[in-house]
Amino acid sequence: MNKKNVKFTLNGKPVTLTVSPSATLLDIIRDELKLTGTKKGCGKGECGACTVIMDGIAVNSCLVPIMKVAGCHVETIEGIGNKEKPHPVQEAFMDLGAIQCGFCTPGMIMSSKALLDKTPDPNREQIREAISGNICRCTGYVKIEAAVQAAADKVKEENSK
């Protein structure tokens, strides 16, 4: 099989990998790099569990051929917060009961973060649209929507300090 090299930035660090060009970004993230925070729920771009942020845009990593990632900045759930300082979206998900089984959670958080990075003051429709490609079967989305709103409010408050 013809392997190729691909370079991109992953969670702020440059990576160079030798990959099978038919692999998807999700295959590489999960199977090669073992970053299992990004979940696979369908492999067809239908559930959003594999959402990562690529150059500022939330994408289904299962639909992105790895060679398309060359030169891009990719953020995964592992890269957006840490033990000392969770990302405000993570914090809000924890505080408002937006997490149940947790399988959609990383993708849901990444879609929400991508929204807030671009639209710090989203309205309800914008929040719903941003997460409409992320299926959650546990929560009915009620507390998720509230958590995204709360995270937006918190970011706004922090920025205005």
């Binding site: 917060g81 924890m94 089984c101 079967r137 009915g140 989305y141 009620v142």
Partner: protein, 756 residues
């Protein structure tokens, strides 16, 4: 009433940080050294005999390490469902499945499996397996499967053609007399769809076989202990040599893996046994859809007799459920449909007669609500019809007839509490019930309507099935608490709720000092597992008893240590008090104890009672009379949950279920074409609600004390979608005057009904 320190508080979930950081491990995340990947060849036919199967080419493909089919795999017959593993004699379990058989009975049925060094090679190998099928005639409808034209899908059905197990018959009073004495009788048949759990993590297992023959299976099961029993049975191993665990997280369940996860555990285990290497089997989403249990569709008939004053007098409920190609939970689901359907209203003369029927559809098994939603859509529709005919308010008619504590009912345990009247009144106020029938002007193209439905459920499966729990609560040498219970946390907050129960009971209020081991047969005592809304109620009782036991041991030891009388001592916030005087911290005492050869190890064992949760759902809808589109504007769910141990978790359970109930009413369905192929086999094709479909949702918690549960808690997990569909269809009737007797009420059905 005693003020609780931890119970009733919506603390941060114990699993929140791991799950939001992406570090929580699920079965699909497990990678073991040397691990192989298993893939399954599935039948393209709904019913066929395998005339010939040749796996030689697949075996020769480099990278392939094993190929299994019916010829070289175990021939022990089993049932993937947990309860058929614990059938109490003289009842006989329905055992009707092999891992692979020489007859396939639905599109998706297992034909063969491959283990290879990677998934790609495994998939290539499947394509090299040569199978010759002899197609047999197939049937997809529960009524047709009972006719003389239909083939026997399984022989040996003593209850009737294609009827697995037994016919469930429940009876109270004298039905004939009841109808003779009734002034009004309504009889209607309803048709119910096949729907799917669509839990986010697909069915998965990773099996590892040790050199001594013991096996470890990381699994997506909701019931590790019974699943270990099923595997021990299939592979004829001592149960003590089978370890089943969640690692520890589970991406949802909703009933789909009470027992095995499809057949993932069995296939992974047999491939691991053949190869001597760990094997991972993960169903893709299509396999999950077509080859793991659905909810039962089928037919339900309601015949209700009333007196002129609106008093219910006789009820006959009949069900014929489509259980698909294998029985799974077909007997129990038909039982719960009847038991719950008969137990909402006080009706002196009542009969239920119901069963499942084999067809060539995907097996139907457990899904949240377990037969109860199939009962309540029909019943609550008929109650609304009766109210209209009597000229009575539908809410008042329900209030007049609902079961009250102490009433006689068909269930073999007493009704000790009901908050249903309060649920109905509070929910009605929230939805604006008094506006019912007054929301539209003549000529409105968008018409609005309000509807309601009520129901009950269980808090575990006692006394219908074997149902008991054991738990351990250990006080560690530093005074922290470790809970061990064999239930799972599939998102339901079990880990957190059990920790709260232990913390409150022992008297340690800092939740960072409490941790919980769940879902591992190696480190937890036997436990039936997470189904029937039982984890908090039943495992919670075991944890409560274990925590009390540990606490007593601490106090007894402290009494000796402090030279105090035990009855004067108390543990509050991790400190041992004598009266109001703080004497010694729990940490100091346990450290001292450990240095003097003593650990406080509490054991809790419970055969539970049962307690009915109650619920009233209200919906407001808008129907576009030009397109047939129904939009739910608002859903109100008022629930008697007993004591809410963690109100936010309880709300989350209700909100999530409510949205599943909305999908059940309006959009979700798996249909079949005439070749037996599932037409809805992926998330895009299967119309489940997304974030953009969510109406305003209001959840109301009513908390009457029930004496049987831990701190008064009742089961919650399943109640949230029991009467949602009838609340919505009754609202549609209020809006446009059309009564739908088949769900989902799709745009197309409404349009056709409006313009037929």
């Amino acid at each position: 009433m005693k003020e609780y320190k931890v119970i009733g508080k919506s603390i941060r979930r114990l699993d929140a940080w791991e799950k939001s950081a992406g570090t929580g491990t699920f079965t699909t995340d497990i990678y073991l050294p040397g691990m192989l990947f298993g893939k399954v060849l599935r039948s393209p036919y709904p019913h066929a005999r395998i005339k010939k199967i040749d796996t030689t080419k697949a075996e020769q493909l480099p990278g392939v390490e094993a190929v299994l089919c019916y010829k070289n795999s175990t021939r022990v017959i089993f049932n993937t469902s947990a309860t058929m593993t614990t059938t109490v004699p003289p009842m006989k379990p329905v055992l009707d499945q092999y891992i692979f058989d020489n007859v396939v009975r639905y599109v998706g049925d297992e034909v063969a499996a491959v283990a290879a060094v990677n998934e790609k090679i495994a998939v290539q190998a499947l394509e090299l397996i040569e199978v010759e099928y002899e197609p047999l005639s197939a049937v997809y409808d529960a009524k047709q499967a009972m006719t003389s034209d239909a083939l026997e899908i399984h022989s040996d059905c003593p209850a009737g053609k294609n009827i697995p197990g037994e016919i469930i018959h429940l009876e109270m009073g004298n039905l004939e007399q009841g109808f003779n004495e009734s002034d009004l009788i309504f009889e209607e048949e309803f048709k119910l769809p096949i729907v799917k759990q669509v839990q986010m993590e697909t069915q998965a297992a990773v099996a590892q076989v040790s050199i001594d023959g013991s096996i470890t299976v990381y699994s997506t099961t909701q019931t590790p202990h019974p699943s270990a029993q099923i595997l021990a049975h299939i592979f004829q191993l001592p149960v003590s040599k089978v370890r089943v665990l969640n690692p520890p997280y589970l991406g949802g369940g909703f009933g789909v893996r009470i027992g095995l996860s499809g057949k993932a555990e069995a296939i992974a285990t047999e491939l691991a046994m053949k190869t001597g290497k760990p094997v991972k089997v993960v169903y893709d989403r299509k396999e999950d859809f077509i080859a793991s249990d659905t909810r039962h569709g089928g037919y339900v008939t309601v015949k209700l007799g009333l007196k002129n004053d609106g008093v219910f007098h006789a009820l006959e409920l009949k069900a014929n459920l489509n259980t698909g190609a294998y029985c799974s939970f077909g007997v129990e689901a038909a039982g719960v449909l009847g038991a719950m359907g008969l137990s909402v209203y006080r009706i002196p003369h009542q009969v239920y007669h119901g069963h499942s029927t084999y067809t060539n559809c995907t097996p139907a098994g457990a899904m949240r609500g377990f037969g109860n939603p199939q009962a309540m859509f029909p019943i609550e529709s008929v109650v609304d019809m009766a109210a209209e005919r009597l000229g009575m308010d539908a809410k008042e008619l329900r209030l007049k007839n609902i079961i009250k504590p102490g009433d006689k009912w068909v269930l073999p345990y007493p009704c000790k509490s009901s908050g249903l009247p309060e649920c109905i009144e509070k929910g009605a106020r929230e939805i604006g019930w008094n506006n019912r029938g007054k929301l539209n002007k003549p000529g409105d193209k968008i018409r609005r309507g309000i509807g309601m439905g009520v129901g009950t459920h269980v808090s575990n499966s006692w006394p219908f099935c074997v149902d008991f729990s054991n738990a351990l609560v250990t006080i560690k040498s530093d005074g922290t608490i470790k809970v061990a219970s064999g239930v799972v946390d599939m998102g339901t907050g079990t880990k957190t709720s059990l920790a709260q129960i232990a913390a409150e009971t022992v008297g340690v209020y800092d939740m960072s000092k409490v941790s919980v081991t769940l879902a591992d047969t190696e480190s937890t005592p036997f436990e039936i597992g997470s189904h029937a809304s039982r984890s908090c109620y039943t495992a919670g009782q075991a944890v409560y008893l274990a925590a009390q036991d540990a606490r007593s041991q601490v106090l007894e030891y402290a009494a000796d240590y402090l030279k105090e009388r035990m009855e004067y001592l108390d543990i509050k916030d991790g400190v041992i008090y004598s009266g109001n005087e703080a004497r010694i911290s729990l940490a100091e005492l346990t450290e001292y104890a450990h240095l003097h050869n003593k650990q406080f190890l509490g054991v809790g064992k419970v055969v539970p009672s049962n307690a009915p949760p109650w619920e009233a759902h209200f919906a407001e809808v808008e129907v576009d009379t030009e397109t047939g589109q129904v939009r739910v504007i608002k859903l109100v769910a008022a629930h008697d949950v007993g004591k809410a141990i963690h109100p936010v978790i309880v709300e989350g359970q209700l909100e999530g279920g409510l949205v599943q109930g909305m999908g059940y009413a309006l959009s979700e369905e798996i249909r079949y074409n005439d070749k037996g192929k599932q037409l809805h086999d992926g998330i895009h094709k299967y119309m489940l609600p997304t974030a953009e479909d969510i109406p305003e949702i209001k959840v109301i918690l009513v908390e009457p004390h029930d004496p049987s549960g831990p701190y008064g808690a009742k089961g919650v997990g399943e109640t949230s979608l029991v009467p949602t569909a009838p609340a919505i269809t009754n609202a549609i009737y209020d809006a446009i005057g059309i009564r739908f007797k088949e769900i989902p009420v799709t745009e197309e059905k409404v349009f056709k009904a409006l313009y037929k």
